[in-house]
């Protein structure tokens, strides 16, 4: 599935980022293939807000549609 399909509170592992340039930029920011992220918020038709460790990221919808993820367990309650 793609990152754009995730819901708030979901946890996912990043599987594949299509663009080489974005892949390099994302690695610098702290997200690479294999990173475990949690979804803080999904704005309607807008960006996906992710958390990884102490870092938070906003990823544009268009970009999120190009990032493959594997959904893991769903958090019971959003902390």
């Amino acid at each position: 599935m793609f990152m754009s399909e995730l819901k708030r509170g979901d946890r996912a592992t990043v599987k594949h980022i299509a663009s080489e340039l974005i892949r390099a930029q994302a690695i610098r920011f702290g997200i690479s293939e294999g990173s475990e992220v949690s979804v803080e918020e999904v704005l309607p038709a807008g960006p996906v807000i992710l958390r990884r460790g102490t870092m938070q990221y906003a990823i544009g919808r268009n970009l999120a549609q190009q990032i493959q993820v594997e959904s893991r367990m769903r958090e019971k309650k959003h902390a």
């Binding site: 610098r28 920011f29 807000i49 990221y57 906003a58 919808r61």
Partner: protein
Amino acid sequence: MPKHDHHTHIDTTGLKRMVLVGNPNAGKSVFFNALTGMYVDVSNFPGTTVEITQAKIGGRLYIDTPGVYGISAFNDEERVTRDVALNAEVIINVVNAAHLERDLFLTLQCLEMGIPMVVAVNMIDEAEHLGLKIDLDLLSHLLGVPVVGTVAVEKQGFKELEIALQQPKVGLIGAYVADDLNRLLDRLGTKGEALLYLEDDADVAKRHGLKPPGSREKIYLARRERVNDIVHHVVKENNTKAKFATVLGRLMLKPLTGIPMLLATLFGMYYVIGFFIAQTVVGVTEEVIMLERYEPFMRNLVGGFIAEGTVLNTLLVGEFGVLTMTITYVFGLLLPLVVGFYLLLAILEDSGYLPRIAALLDRALTGIGLNGRAVIPMILGFGCVTMATITTRLLGTSRERLIAIALLVITIPCSAQLGVIVGLIAPLGWQHVASYMVAVFATFVIIGVVLNKVLPGKSSDLLIDLPPIRLPRVENVLKKTMNKSYMFIAEAAPLFAIGAFIIGVLEVTGALVALQNVFAPLTVGWLKLPKEAATAFIMGIVRRDFGAAGLADMSLTAAQTVVAMVTITLFVPCIAAVLVMFKERNWKEASILWISAFAIAFLVGGIVAQVVI
């Protein structure tokens, strides 16, 4: 106030080159200031619009570089940082203590360049406040270079930094590149060149007559793993419960709460800049100090040497005089606005709110070829288009910068102009206010959509990190405001003097009156306005609010007022904005934009005239 010697160059021979490298928001500019004090030299890096700040202290030359996330040649800033860092004798790497996960990537990249280094973990007090505890000794041990904790705004840790700077060390290079670097050292000269070649840097490969080897991603991934491992060992988080700041940050992002918060913020900003500064403060600085005191004084002084009515007298102290209009605009009008903007911008920047606004509005902006980051220049545009044009530098591609500048200079009225317009239209009733807003907003959307379709290339997608929400520090905000305001004035004043001189020449030669006659058919035939409206539009070339004020003196019907206000809103930007536009873009694009503004103003104004009159 700091002294900036523009375009002069420090003699750098024999000085030890100390280069500051760091991520955006690591507090690097304040750090540089704390390190070097007052005397700095600002100049453009050759062939770019990127500014480089240098300071000579004792036998050392400190060089600041633009804030970057890595040295990957993804944009001009990164290329400049690369070129400066490659020639460093010592790298001082400033990292944000609260963002080690992000910032240490650049740290390791610098370290692997094999240049002696010192790492300053800045804003260490803030990290503690966030519940993060950082083991600096362990970090130093893992990196193999001296590590100092600092709070740059308070100059905390700078004694220890000075000691560390006397013994910078070449760090521990990761096994993932160490062998390759040694192998390439003979061929490429330095480890820095070798590393960037291995990371597929096209320019570096080319100057050694090589092809990029395609190993960037492998190195980046290994480096990322090492960063994560270091952070895992060095940072202890002892407070994980949701704090007020975290909750606030989340509310800013949710549309249901985020949009009202944004509107309240925008209204607050508009009130401070559009009413308090543009009217109350400027009323004193421009009207009282400049127009009532300074200008008569200057006219008297110059009149004593050069007779009134002569060409030289008019050029110096006439209506558009270099000693009168320039000084009045720069210090009476621009300076208070500029200080106000930079103050609010610094507060927004330091609070961590801006990136959240960018995320909230990202979807709306993709339709006009921009991503969420473009909200910053758009917000600033309602205060002052000139300032906002400069901030378009933060946009990802040249295409986005062009779209943003076009929207700013054509459709967004600045606070001074908006003040005059609101005063004229509001009493006419809501239908007229609505026609005005619909016409201007429709033009905004159409220009954005058309440019997005017509311009080649692709705009970048939103990919930003959201820093923690925090209370801005007063010293930090004030320092940033002061530095930026000073630099802006130093840059704008000479350009403004040239503009004033050109307008002065037009006036003296009678060209100004000739232009009035050129305008007349358009204003009467197409816009259905009285003939005298042409004068207001000519004034509008200097400044749009000038033009709007000129229209206020004429007796117009309600419908004519709407037509006139729409036209003057979309009209060419003020001289200051034009000069900045020419500086930020090339002369060709800037001229096209200027002519387009002219054409669009009369086109849309005329269409509105056909509908409402």
